[in-house]
């Protein structure tokens, strides 16, 4: 009973940790990019400042905005937060992981996207519609690729429960699996697409032709905008954690003892920092691609995950 | 046997009476009255036979068993309902000036004459008389087909006359051969050599070679009247060009009677041959007729013509079923005879009204019946659904059984059957639907329509579809046993 309670407590704490450190990660990425593009870099805590400022401001709302427009940010944030709560960040024994497995995780993302796109169409501006249309197109192409990749992993671990999967991978020890290689690549590409990074989308721009995600939030202001942005950061972090903890779970705490958790925190921080570097490099090297090249990009991701699956079936069925 | 005499004398008297009666209005009523009396007689007869079993009249001239008694009742019944329908209908025709009072006299008297001929054909025990009656049926109706004296109707009548005449002639030749075969066995008392019951009892001794040839001639002969492809060509013409009540009785009854004759013959031949030759021939013709007619349904412009093709289709199906032989198939065929004649005659009644209220038989000019006159529109729709074999109408049940029997004995033939049913359905509906639905063209007006017959018929068909009343089932089973020699299940 007691350890159950601690477990739940820990879950809540970890979720808060997730939400709390997400801006840090994106700040870090921004910083890295500025360095790489040798621009003057903002502070590591700039995102926090932005959020705080936005929360402080009065909401400016379009006349014809409906209740849905005002509810959407909360739903988006809530969904993403729930997703975060289900992902083992620093320790495996996470009771909340049982509430929602990988598929439900995808479901949460879908829920968030659903409301965000709806909200963007609520005002009836051209940009809103355009953003929604592109967003759902990209998402619907990314989803199968992502699920395919996840299947490859879950078939190895024969579970969709994240903590159990990580446990299994850790127990298996260091095994080089070709399927994992492909799955990793495709998951990375999907993550890029889903979190609206270059080359699929460009978070920095507001040019009509280039933006996907940004177009859907044009009409938002103040706390609504803050929630949505924050949710976006958390989402980015979730993907990063997923990739790092699934493919190289070492270091993550196996039981809820202080030292173990401490190690976990450090380990995950290191991993995320590394990933961020990779992402920054990638975003600096690549250029934003035309919208209708994106399907090919995601198609390639799907192909990779498919290959991964086949590798699993063909080469690893003995394992 | 008393009811039998009523059954035959009443219409015969009607022929003379109506021929002399000047007023066609009165004649219409009288026509109904006589038909009603005839129907009553038939019911009485049926009652007798149901209780006392097969009856042989004095002089062996008539023989009533389960097989023909129910056809008698059916014939009389449809005759009655059609008479009811025909009175207002023909009056309207007179008012439109399509026929004059003199021809109405001809019409009414021939109507009774036709009934008489059919009842005679059904009840007689003598194959020769059967032939005579069939020919008489042709002769009485041929003038009615050309009643309107339009070029088309005259042409139709002529074809009807010639083709059926020639066909029937073949049948007579077959009868002669039958007689020849029988007379050599039964020797001296020549009078009995054509009596069906005698023949049936001695079928085994009849000479196969002769009977085979005889059957071919009889098949071609009576088959012409059944409307088997490729002998069917007269049928659509005759059915579409005559006055609608005639079409109703022709499609509903005459074909049945012809088929009845064919089956009687088949029973003899089977008894003598001990091979399935007759059955196979009938199956072949049946299937061919069915499939060809089904395709014809897709090329129609005249509403009555279309439904006469559907008659060919169903006749083909029955012939096929009788050809298969077994108890189940026979039962199915008998049932199908009943439901088909009920449904088809009701359809023709409706079609008659439709043609009157639109003033044309051209399909493309009939639109939106439901709007103009709902009863007619719905009636037509229901009738078509019924004839297309949709449950819970009886046609579905019989077709279901036919398919069932086919699957049992000839599994691969179910495929063409099903295909045919589907195509037939498409053919019927692609034409019927636009007629009942949609927006009526200007100048389409309500008429004084007597939908009672339709209602009764469809109700009966519905009843048969949901459950076969016990006495009827009893009849069917007796008849089945008679024809196929075994009980269904």
């Amino acid at each position: 009973m007691a350890d159950q309670l601690t477990g739940w407590l820990f879950a809540v704490l970890q979720t808060l940790l997730f939400a709390g450190t997400a801006p840090l990660l994106s700040g870090w990425i921004k910083r890295l990019k500025c360095h790489l593009q040798n621009r003057a870099a903002p502070s590591l805590f700039q995102p926090y400042r932005d959020l705080a400022k936005l929360f402080g401001k009065n909401v400016v709302l379009a006349q014809n905005a409906s209740w849905l427009f005002r509810v959407a940010p909360y739903v988006v944030f809530g969904a993403i937060l729930l997703a975060a709560s289900a992902v083992p960040l620093v320790a495996i024994p996470l009771p909340t992981a049982a509430i929602a497995d990988v598929i439900v995780l995808a479901g949460f993302f879908a829920l968030a996207r659903f409301f965000q796109t709806l909200a963007s169409m609520d005002i009836g501006t051209t940009f809103g519609g355009m953003g929604a249309s592109r967003e759902v197109t990209v998402a619907s192409l990314a989803e199968p690729a992502m699920l395919m990749a996840v299947f490859t992993l879950t078939m190895t671990a024969s579970t969709t429960n994240l903590s159990v999967a990580m446990q299994h991978i850790l127990d298996a020890g260091l095994v080089l699996r070709p399927s994992f290689l492909f799955a990793f690549l495709s998951l990375a590409m999907v993550a890029v697409a889903e979190t609206g990074r270059i080359p699929v989308d460009n978070p920095e721009t507001h040019l009509e032709l280039t933006m996907l995600h940004e177009a859907t939030v044009l009409e938002y202001s103040a706390r609504h905008l803050a929630l949505i942005d924050w949710a976006g950061m958390i989402k980015l972090m979730i993907y990063a954690v997923l990739i790092s903890d699934i493919f190289l779970p070492w270091g993550i705490a196996r039981q809820l003892t202080l030292p173990a958790v401490a190690v976990g925190v450090v380990a995950v921080a290191a991993k995320l920092a590394m990933l961020a570097v990779l992402l920054a490099l990638w975003e600096t090297v690549l250029a934003k691609m035309r919208l209708f090249r994106v399907p090919q990009f995601l198609g390639f991701a799907f192909l990779l995950s498919l290959l991964g699956l086949l590798m699993h079936v063909i080469l690893e069925s003995a394992l | 046997m008393i009811p039998l005499y009523f059954l035959l004398w009443l219409p015969l008297a009607g022929v003379l009476l109506l021929a002399l009666l000047p007023s066609y209005r009165l004649a219409g009523h009288l026509n109904i009255a006589i038909s009603a009396a005839t129907f009553a007689a038939s019911v009485w007869l049926a009652w007798d036979v149901l209780h006392t079993g097969p009856e042989l009249s004095r002089g062996n001239l008539f023989y009533i068993d389960a097989f023909n008694v129910y056809l008698v009742a059916l014939t009389a019944f449809v005759g009655l309902t059609t008479a009811i329908f025909s009175r207002p209908y023909m009056q309207h025709e007179v008012e439109r000036g399509r026929v004059g009072p003199r021809r109405m006299r001809l019409y009414h008297s021939m109507y009774q004459g036709f009934l008489f001929a059919m009842l005679l054909a059904l009840t007689t025990n003598n194959m020769g008389v059967l032939w005579v009656a069939m020919e008489a049926a042709t002769l009485t109706t041929v003038l009615l087909v050309s009643l309107y004296r339009t070029p088309e109707s005259v042409e139709a009548a002529w074809k009807y006359f010639i083709l059926c005449g020639v066909g029937i002639a073949q049948a007579l030749f077959g009868t002669v051969l039958l007689y020849f075969a029988a007379e050599r066995r039964l020797g001296p008392d020549r009078g009995r050599a054509l009596l069906w019951n005698v023949l049936h009892n001695h079928a085994a001794q009849l000479d196969p070679a002769v009977l085979t040839i005889a059957f071919v001639f009889l098949l071609v002969g009576y088959g012409t009247k059944v409307g088997l492809v490729p002998l069917h060509n007269w049928l659509p013409d005759a059915h579409s060009e005559g006055p609608t009540p005639m079409s109703a009785v022709l499609s509903g009854l005459l074909l049945n009677v012809a088929l009845y004759a064919l089956v009687r013959v088949k029973m003899l031949v089977d008894g003598s041959l001990h091979t399935a030759l007759a059955g196979h021939l009938m199956m072949g013709f049946g299937l061919l007729s069915f499939l060809v007619a089904v395709l014809f349904l897709h090329r129609q412009h005249d509403i009555k013509r279309m439904f006469s093709y559907s008659s060919i289709e169903h006749m083909g199906l029955m012939t096929f079923a009788f050809g298969i032989g077994g108890a189940l198939a026979t039962f199915a065929a008998l049932l199908h005879m009943t439901v088909h004649s009920l449904t088809k005659s009701s359809i023709f009644v409706t079609v008659g009204h439709a043609a009157q209220l639109t003033g044309t038989q051209r399909i493309e000019h009939i639109r939106g019946l439901i709007r103009t006159q709902p009863t007619v529109g719905w009636g037509l729709l229901a009738g078509t659904l019924a004839i297309a074999g949709f449950p819970p109408f009886g046609v579905f049940m019989s077709e279901f059984l036919v398919l069932n029997a086919t699957m049992k004995s000839w599994p691969w033939l179910t495929l063409p059957l099903l295909l045919g049913l589907a195509v037939a359905f498409a053919g019927l509906f692609r034409y019927v639907q636009p007629m009942v639905y949609g927006i009526p063209p200007p100048g389409q007006v309500r008429v004084r329509a007597n939908m009672l017959p339709v209602a009764i018929h469809l109700a009966l068909v519905l009843w048969l579809g949901l459950s076969i009343p016990l006495f009827l089932a009893h009849w069917f089973e007796q008849a089945t046993q008679l024809i196929s020699g075994s009980l269904p299940l």
Binding site: G107, N161, F292, F302 | P230, Y437, P488
Partner: protein, 683 residues
């Protein structure tokens, strides 16, 4: 059993009472629909009872053939589907009285002159009520049937009555065409089903289902029977490429009928397939499963893609029914595969998923059709590109439809998600299979399922965004009013069900236990092993989903967030939309549904027969005064399948027509040569 009889009786009675409706419209609105409601309650009660007790009841009616009475039987499977029908019928009976007003006011006939007296006509309420009653009765009777004969009769009864309902507004040629196509396909399907039953009966020696169960078929024959059944029932269920009738017919009917057809009638077809494959045929083969799975996948994907491309909102819903049927078929296929390869435990999960999704689809599709019906009822507008902004005009309807959209888009915590989650879980258990082929095909199918649900989400973002959000695009829409309480109540009920079924999947699975027990001799033991809170289809270790906790957490976060934001009320300023500062926003600048789907159309171009025309009206070189854009999205199954068949039949007819040349001598020659031929044959 009595309850079931009662339900059917009530349905028929409501039909009969409706006959008086032409004279007294009130009869239809109050008596008939009340009876219909009773029928629904009866059905739910009967089904629920059977599901709770898990018993079977059989009966015989002294109808039909002298030697083949009507055999009836009510077992958990039929009970479950009966409950589904019941729910939908209750909703419709609540909805009907309000909606029927639509048909009391006379309608203008298209194409008739102004001063024409026939310009206006009133559709016959009697017909509407009568056929509705018969339709419902027919569906219920199909579930009760225990021999092929009753089954076929009630099946065709269902088809015919629904056909008459499709043709109800027959002043529009399109509806007539749809009705014809529908009835034709229904009939063909029925004939094929009949053939399938015939094969079984041939071996079983009887048309009672009991005899068929005992039949011993060779694998080849049983495969044939299954193929026939798949074809026949698939045609009714709208399996690609036999689906062509569905998007034509469902929109043509009055909305509450469309709801019944899309919501439950195709479920009856699914019931038929389950009954045939799992119950009558018995010995399943994995090849069937593979066939069903493939068909299902194709159906789901194509269905949703076509749905996405539609602008007519009812057509769109119809196509999305095709999609959902595909998902259900996938479940069934998986179940067959797993059962046939000796993993019944997982087979049960898949079957559960299929059944569960049938229930869910019935609920949310009915809800959506009713909602759309409400919209059409107020705006008389079915084209998405003419709607807009309804969330402000019809708030209640908007809310309910939103819930419907969330459910059909398979978003947690609503019911659509639960069943698709189960399907995916079943698909994920492939490692147990021996055959590598299956192990690689099934995950692909699963991925395509994911694609399907993502596209479904896109579709309903479009529907909701274009129809309910943004600004009204036409005057009539701008002045739409909220619908009456009855209609709202119907939608509210279904919306609640959507949520409830999504939140407590365990309860549903408990209810379904007797069904699987009946069909596969196995209960989904693992699924509820950790109590009502946790749904663990295979085992807690493998996967678990706790909808109640999800909901709880979500509510908590929302509350927390809301309080956090509003503990001190910062003001809200209402201003004109910013729109990147362009300003001068008009309703015509909004993204239309056509525009919304353009990227997807471009990505999946080969799927459609797209006919896109842009007419430029150029006043001077390079000065375009006006553009005219029109787009027609065609279904390839037409050109690929239906038109050729039609042509073939007509060609054959033309050939045969030649023999009826009209010349009497020719006819004589026919009979002459027939005679000679026969004589030659016999001698």
């Amino acid at each position: 059993m009595l309850l079931a009889y009662g339900a059917i009786g009530a349905a028929l009675l409501s039909g009969v009472t409706a006959l008086a409706a032409d004279r007294f419209p009130a009869v239809l609105r109050w008596i008939s629909f009340t009876l219909l409601g009773l029928c629904g309650l009866g059905a739910v009660a009967a089904g629920g009872m059977v599901l709770l007790t898990g018993e079977r009841m059989t009966a015989q009616l002294p109808c039909g053939l002298p030697w083949l009475n009507w055999h009836l039987r009510l077992d958990p499977l039929s009970g479950f589907f009966m409950a589904i029908i019941g729910i939908a019928v209750i909703a419709v009976s609540l909805y009907g009285p309000g909606y029927a007003l639509e048909f009391q006011r006379p309608v203008r006939m298209p194409g008739t002159g102004r001063d024409d007296s026939r310009e206006h006509f009133r559709p016959s309420l009697a017909a509407l009520g009568l056929f509705t009653g018969v339709f419902v009765a027919g569906m219920l009777a199909v579930l009760l049937a225990d021999d092929a004969f009753v089954f076929m009769i009630s099946w065709e009864l269902m088809s015919v009555s629904s056909y008459l309902l499709v043709a109800y507004q027959h002043q529009h040629p399109a509806n007539r065409h749809a009705a014809f196509l529908y009835l034709l396909q229904a009939h063909v399907g029925a004939l094929v089903i009949l053939l399938a039953f015939g094969v079984l009966a041939g071996f079983g020696g009887g048309f009672t289902f009991h005899a068929m169960r005992t039949a011993h078929l060779t694998p080849a024959w049983s495969s044939l029977a299954f193929a026939l059944a798949l074809f026949g029932f698939g045609m009714k269920a709208g399996m690609v490429p036999l689906h062509a009738w569905l998007p034509e017919a469902h929109p043509a009917a009055p909305s509450h009928i469309s709801a019944l057809m899309s919501g439950v009638m195709i479920k009856v077809a699914i019931y038929g397939l389950i009954r045939f494959a799992f119950d009558l045929l018995g010995q399943l083969q994995w090849s069937w499963g593979l066939a069903t799975l493939t068909a299902g996948t194709a159906t789901a994907l194509l269905g949703v893609l076509y749905a996405l491309a539609q602008n007519d909102i009812k057509r769109l819903l119809a196509y999305s029914s095709v999609e959902n049927v595909g998902i259900i078929f996938m479940g069934l296929g998986l179940s067959m595969i797993f059962v046939a390869t000796g993993h019944p435990a997982i087979g049960v999960v898949a079957l559960l998923a299929a059944l569960y999704h049938s229930l869910n689809h019935a609920v949310f599709k009915t809800l959506l059709f009713l909602g759309v019906g409400a919209v059409v009822y107020r705006t008389h507008e079915r084209d998405l590109d003419h709607l807009g902004g309804l969330i402000r005009r019809m708030p209640a309807t908007a809310l309910f439809v939103l819930i419907g959209c969330l459910s059909i888009a398979a978003l947690p915590p609503f019911n659509g998600f639960a069943s698709e989650w189960l399907t995916l879980q079943a698909a994920l258990q492939v490692p147990v299979l021996a055959s590598g082929v299956l192990r690689s095909i099934i995950p692909i199918a699963a991925a395509l399922l994911a694609l399907t649900s993502a596209l479904a989400a896109a579709t309903f973002v479009k529907v909701y965004g274009v129809a309910f959000l943004g600004q009204a695009r036409t005057r009539r829409v701008a002045h739409a009013r909220e619908v009456g309480l009855g209609m709202q109540a119907a939608m509210a009920m279904l919306a609640l069900l959507c949520l409830a079924l999504g939140v407590v999947p365990t309860a549903v699975i408990r209810l379904l236990e007797p069904v699987t027990q009946d069909l596969l001799r196995l209960r989904p033991a693992a699924a509820t092993v950790r109590g009502w809170l946790w749904l663990t289809p295979v085992s807690p270790r493998v996967a678990s989903y706790s909808a109640p906790l999800v909901v709880a957490a979500m509510v908590l976060t929302l509350l927390a967030g809301y309080l956090l934001m509003h503990w001190r009320r910062p003001g809200v300023r209402r201003v004109p939309p910013w729109d990147c500062g362009f300003g001068g926003l008009t309703t015509r600048m909004q993204y239309t549904s056509t525009a919304f789907t353009q990227p997807v159309r471009r990505v999946f171009a080969p799927v459609w027969h797209t006919d896109e025309r842009i007419e430029k009206h150029e006043v001077a070189p390079a000065r375009i005064a006006g553009l005219r854009y029109q787009l027609h999205i065609g279904d390839w199954s037409w050109t690929a399948l239906y038109e050729p068949i039609g042509r073939a039949v007509l060609a054959a007819a033309r050939r045969v027509g030649r023999i009826q040349a009209g010349n009497i001598r020719l006819y004589l020659a026919y009979s002459f040569f027939t005679l000679l031929l026969l004589l030659w044959l016999i001698s």
